[in-house]
């Protein structure tokens, strides 16, 4: 179908303004056997946009490993579920709220948190932790400060009020996000294995119930907006951003969990992107049934809303449920107690159609399968660019005496400095189960009433992905795995948020394909499957795409909380050792970008066998109580990691090493490495164990004093390190 042979009664411009391609419209007409009315067109637009249909990504996402011994529910439900022993499960997912957060940072971020929380408690889990992964543009870009303040305010505003701790996350700055920031929010919840709730509608004639807030005109076409690029006029899309009400969500959370204790709910689905449309269709599709809805019954807070508006509103804090008819009054009394709307708006049918009525007239009748199974799926063309070539560095080009000055510059840079300014605005202790607070490798939350915990980490390195999407994809997965190991937990599974540019461009699609391949290889090797996730494409402004950013949220289990590890150095006299091979990999490193203002060289390659071997060794040492603190060596390399350990523990260190190429050793970003603190009397055992496991171990220095000193080079005081580390955000 081209523009010139358009032969339908529906205006072509109307179709295009709904974000539908002309041949997609033709497919709708074919499926329905007629042209859709406006409400139906709106429904197709909402279901077939990229955000809801995964039409460009589905084919590739299927290649990721999604099963494992502990996986109870993989991708496809509101959130994934893993077994954490003793009849307990952890439920988690990460989701993007990028487009709205750029337009209206506070509400965009706040509703992102609200949405992911609902995804988790819909499954029957009480949310216990929020995390996030944030990307902003150049720190000096005029919009950056406003966006950072707004997003941090919105995340805190929502999480603090609802009373779920925000226990960590990651934040980075790069000019590729100047026109499209990324706000990825993750929630982890805990439920009982025999009390998990799903979304498949069942039981012909059973009531379909609407609960939560009333419906207004906010957020209409939000999901469609999130499936398009931005241009100079994007500010005009601000009305598509929803407004969050964390107080109502708190009531909804408590009411849902209270009702879930009764045997009343058959199916439940939150009204997120595309509101009533996607929730009703997903429930019907999963249950292979039909749903009739009487839109006149939908609780509204704006007068004269049309069927079209009711179906596409993205008003927040709403849920759709199918309940046992006999339990209707019980359910109603619970929601009434919490001052929430409760209305039977429809019933489950055997028609396998979504049929809508309003004021006695039929407004829409669409077979569910056309909307879901027959939704367009594309295998987009892709080109895989050659990875950026490796470059070699020679020690003669670097001056050893610059090392400590370079360190100060690096730890004061926005990408490596302390994030305390951010996480002090998040209540990270409410619920009184936070074991490891933000600022360590992974956050650790106690499973309430037990002595076990879950470790959570989010991560991604877009510059690695940009220069070598395959290794970058591996890296994102491995980095969270290593963070979880360093906290003393057994890594179990991940959720992902695939943030990319326009998939209709072959090189962007190539980045996507390669990142998935890298992630898949890492997940398979590490037995660390993907159990939930989300895709955010079209992160472009005026044709300029973001760097490929597959953000990963990993979760692990600590069976005995006394094995929890943190990064802060503990005791004077202990020895700091480096685990893993160092090969002076400076290509694409923070050192190059911060000190030399260069972004070139190859992404460090990851040997997954080494990762597995070294990670297992660390966990083994932790369980043998050999280690006092552990930190994975990540962004910035060994010396930055040492500085972080010193700052956290308020301890100095005397580094005593000899190397031909000190800059390469201190700032290289080779993978599969950890720094570990060991007491003198356990040092020998640690070294023997390392040699038995064929793991490389090196002594770095002795802990103590009030400075980091490096033999033959000099020293820098802790107080100066702390000043440099906190300066940037303190002056924000």
């Amino acid at each position: 179908m081209t523009s010139s042979n358009w032969h339908f009664d529906t205006e072509k411009s109307l179709v295009e303004s709904h974000g539908l391609k002309l041949d997609e419209f033709e497919k709708i007409v074919e499926g329905l056997g007629r042209e859709p009315n406006l409400t139906e067109l709106g429904i197709f637009s909402a279901m077939w946009n990229e955000h809801c249909s995964y039409k460009s990504s589905k084919y590739w996402l299927k290649k990721l490993p999604t099963s494992g011994e502990r996986v109870i529910q993989g991708p496809g439900e509101n959130a994934g579920v893993i077994d954490i022993d003793d009849g307990d499960v952890a439920v988690f997912k990460m989701e993007s709220h990028n487009h709205p957060s750029f337009l209206e940072p506070y509400q965009g971020a706040a509703t992102g948190v609200g949405g992911i929380l609902r995804d988790v408690f819909t499954m029957g889990a009480r949310p216990v932790a929020n995390m996030n992964a944030l990307r902003f543009g150049d720190p000096n870009h005029p919009k950056t400060k406003h966006l950072v303040s707004g997003v941090v305010g919105g995340i805190g505003g929502y999480g603090n009020c609802i009373g779920i701790p925000t226990v960590g996350g990651e934040v980075n700055f790069h000019p590729s996000y100047n026109g499209n920031i990324l706000v990825n929010a993750m929630t982890v919840g805990i439920a009982k294995k025999d009390k998990i709730f799903y979304s498949a509608a069942a039981g012909i004639g059973n009531p379909v119930v609407y609960v939560g807030s009333k419906t207004g005109r906010d957020g209409i076409h939000g999901a469609t907006m999130a499936s398009a690029e931005f241009d100079d006029d994007s500010e005009e899309k601000k009305p598509t951003v929803q407004v969050g009400d964390p107080f109502t969500e708190k009531l909804l959370l408590e009411a849902c969990l209270e009702l879930m204790k009764e045997d009343a709910i058959i199916a439940i689905q939150d009204m997120g992107a595309a509101g009533l449309t996607s929730s009703s269709i997903e429930m019907a599709s999963k249950g292979n049934v039909g749903i009739d809805i009487n839109l006149s019954k939908v609780p509204i807070r704006a007068a004269n809303m049309t069927a079209y508006e009711l179906m596409l509103s993205e008003s927040q804090e709403r849920m759709l449920m199918v309940i046992q008819p006999k339990k209707e009054e019980l359910a109603r009394s619970i929601f009434k107690k919490w001052d929430l709307e409760f209305e039977v708006i429809g019933e489950v049918t055997d028609t396998k159609k979504l049929i809508l009525h309003m004021d006695g007239e039929e407004q829409a009748s669409i077979p569910i399968n056309i909307l879901v199974e027959d939704a367009p799926e594309y295998q987009r063309d892709y080109i895989v660019n050659d990875p950026s070539p490796l470059i070699s560095f020679e020690s003669k080009d670097f001056k050893d005496k610059d090392i400590l000055g370079d360190l100060l510059k690096m730890i004061s840079h926005p990408n490596l400095c302390s994030r305390k300014w951010i996480w002090e605005q998040y209540d990270h202790m409410v619920m009184a189960d936070t074991v490891v607070r933000p600022g360590s490798d992974a956050a650790v939350i106690r499973v309430h009433g037990t002595n076990k915990g879950i470790a959570i980490s989010t991560d991604c390195s877009p510059t690695y992905c940009r220069h070598n999407s395959y290794e970058g994809g591996k890296h994102a997965v491995v980095e969270t795995w290593r963070n979880i190991v360093a906290s003393g937990a057994e890594p179990i599974a991940i959720t992902d948020c695939m943030n990319f540019g326009n998939p209709e461009k072959p090189e962007i699609m190539g980045q996507f394909v390669e990142c998935i391949r890298g992630m898949g290889d890492a997940c398979s090797k590490l037995n660390y499957p993907v159990i939930s996730g989300n895709v955010s494409l079209y992160n472009e402004t005026n044709g300029e795409g973001i760097y490929p950013t597959p953000a990963i949220g990993g979760v692990g289990l600590i069976t005995d909380l006394s094995n929890t590890m943190t990064i802060d150095l503990k005791n004077e006299g202990n020895i700091l050792c480096l685990i893993g091979e160092s090969n002076n990999h400076l290509g694409n490193s923070h050192y190059l970008s911060i000190i030399q203002s260069r972004e070139d060289g190859g992404t460090p390659s990851i040997n997954l066998d080494d990762e597995l071997k070294n990670g297992k060794f660390i966990l083994d040492c932790i369980s043998k109580k050999l280690l006092k603190s552990v930190h994975d060596v990540g962004e910035g390399g060994v010396l930055v990691a040492i500085a972080e350990m010193c700052i956290s523990g308020k301890q100095g260190i005397k580094i005593d090493i000899t190397k031909d190429f000190l800059h390469g050793f201190f700032f290289g970003e080779d993978q599969a490495r950890y720094l570990v603190e060991v007491s003198q009397n356990k040092l020998q055992q640690l070294e023997i164990d390392a040699s038995k496991s064929a793991v490389k171990i090196e002594r770095i220095g002795e802990i103590g004093g009030t400075s980091i000193s490096i033999n033959s080079i000099g020293e820098v005081e802790l107080s100066s390190l702390i000043d440099h580390h906190t300066k940037w955000f303190n002056e924000f």
Binding site: C161, F247, Y426, V430, L561
Partner: protein, 223 residues
């Protein structure tokens, strides 16, 4: 000891304080829904932290008019120990049980971190075991204010419960996290059976919290 924890819509530290009471006092409190109207017999009533009614109006203002507050006030006037933590402190001020006001933090942002407080009056049922203590704060409106007459009255009656201080116990501007006048972190009513405080003792009540200094307030009530 018979204890009660009030639950408002939007309370979110109700469970945390119930766990602390269970662990330290040894029996679990009765959770009282805000629409209930009476508490008959109690040895301690806690108004917990959170965002009652979303704090969409002035913090604590809506909750202070909830049905249960009438009974809380009656009990307080009879001498029953009443403790308001964070949002609970705001509610007790709004209900008139405590003097002063809690304004927005001077930094204009939410603050969640450990602070140190020093008991100003250790001769009360809440503070007879208190020493310099570390515990977290987590609030947006914890900036205590009272006019000079009120401050004088509060001081003269030994009604200041806690003040923010540094590790050495020095009360100075560096150790003041939110701009509170005279570093005030908590106050009593005149008869010292009502305590309002911004810091969260229930979040510093066992070893996994990294500090258990908050226990001494509950232990004090036991003795």
């Amino acid at each position: 000891m018979k204890t009660h924890v009030i639950v408002f819509p939007g309370s979110n530290c109700d469970r945390d304080v119930a766990v602390a009471i269970q662990n330290i006092i040894g029996s679990s409190p009765e959770m009282v829904w805000h629409k209930d109207s009476t508490i008959n017999q109690s040895d301690l009533i806690v108004v917990p932290g959170g965002f009652s009614y979303g704090d969409y109006l002035r913090c604590g203002a809506m909750a202070s008019t909830s049905p249960i507050m009438k009974s809380v006030i009656e009990n307080a006037n009879k001498g029953v120990p009443v403790m308001g933590i964070c949002n609970g402190f705001q509610i007790l001020i709004e209900s008139g049980l405590l003097q002063g006001a809690l304004m927005r933090n001077s930094s204009l942002s939410f603050i969640c971190r450990d602070i140190i407080i020093k008991p100003t009056n250790t001769k009360t049922m809440f503070t007879n075991k208190s020493t310099i203590s570390k515990m977290p704060i987590a609030h947006n409106e914890g900036n205590y204010f009272a006019n000079s007459n009120q401050i004088k009255e509060i001081e003269d009656n030994d009604q200041i419960a806690f003040q923010y201080c540094d590790e050495n116990g020095d009360i100075n501007s560096h150790s003041n996290p939110n701009g509170s006048i005279n570093n005030i972190a908590g106050v009593f009513n005149k008869s010292k059976n009502v305590l309002g405080m911004m810091p969260h003792p229930e979040r510093a009540a066992e070893s996994i919290h990294g500090c258990d200094d908050g226990r001494n307030i509950f232990e004090s009530l036991l003795s």
